[in-house]
Symmetry: C2
Subunit: 198 residues, 2 copies
């Protein structure tokens, strides 16, 4: 009775990849439904069948980008002292943001269509920080960081690295070398600060 679907999961993944590539290449305005559809040999119907709207496609790109960031953080080895580990995680965060600047900025663009995030998005963001929170928890357990709730400190460290990444991508931190010095200074200061302030 029913015609079998050809807009399968593979098409869906390809569309997300093409959309992410378009955003990474030319920013959010460079993403057009006709463009991404043509890039994977489909039509706009495929997008509406699989996602429902451009907004939902962007949401999927959003989630994919957070997952990629989480993957980069997971790859950081856990060896060394807990504070060194936090520094390495911060630098890995920086590398990930610099690798695809437009995509990173879109993740936090604050497009109102993306801001009222669904619970799934909040969970994805939390999962992104899983690796970081683990390191914070270990540092606290080892007495290298104060506090008992790793979630609080994790969020505050996230705010710092996100702010650094955002400002660097906007050019406010100077060239690559100057920005690197800011990253090291700020990360060292933050870790020592929690140590000193309790």
């Amino acid at each position: 009775m029913v015609r079998p679907t050809t807009y399968d999961a593979a098409t869906r993944a390809a569309l997300i990849d093409a959309a992410a590539a378009a955003v990474a290449a030319g920013g959010p305005d460079a993403l057009t439904l006709r463009g991404v559809a043509a890039a994977v040999g489909a039509t706009t119907s495929a997008i509406y069948a699989l996602f429902g709207s451009k907004e939902q496609l962007l949401r999927a790109v959003h989630r994919e980008a957070f997952a990629g960031l989480a993957h980069e953080l997971e790859r950081v080895p856990a060896g060394g002292g807990p504070l060194d580990e936090l520094l390495e995680l911060g630098l890995a965060y920086r590398r990930s943001a610099l690798a695809r600047p437009s995509l990173y900025l879109v993740m936090f663009s604050g497009d109102p269509r993306l801001v009222p995030t669904e619970p799934a998005d909040a969970e994805a963001a939390a999962a992104t920080l899983g690796r970081l929170q683990g390191a914070v928890g270990r540092a606290q357990a080892a007495g290298a960081l104060p506090g008992s709730d790793p979630g609080d400190t994790t969020l505050e460290l996230w705010a710092l690295v996100h702010g650094l990444a955002s400002l660097e991508l906007l050019g406010a931190l100077g060239d690559r070398d100057a920005a690197g010095r800011h990253w090291h200074r700020a990360l060292r200061g933050a870790v020592a600060g929690y140590d000193a302030a309790g």
Copy 2:
């Protein structure tokens, strides 16, 4: 020989206000040239005569928003200890961001058309931080903060408050009260951190 212009500076200011209001109300996609032109009783010709393109209009909104932020920071009184002053500046930054969330996020949206900022934009951003840098300089002079170059510490503090504002606007810091606790913890930690780490 020449017809006098009716698209004067007042029209220009009104267009910037209307554009900022549209962005603040519905995000960047809610800004349409026909819409802002109609809001001030003009036509799209006025925008093209005064700005040249939507991009230039957005740039003007950008600068206006940074100027407003600078104005908010200037209003913070300089009394009290230098570290308390830094805390108050951070909280003023937060209030300013929360007052017009969409506008704040657009300021850092990273739209590639805005990223390669002109020198004038970089100067505007620097001026925004003038008040903060003054407080940092005084704190350093008083020995309450280490370091000799207030510019470095200012940028790193800016990264922190920007990250906090960005995450709060995206809902990652929880409700208003929880976010406030994060702000206080992070600001105290940062100030103490520079103190401890040198």
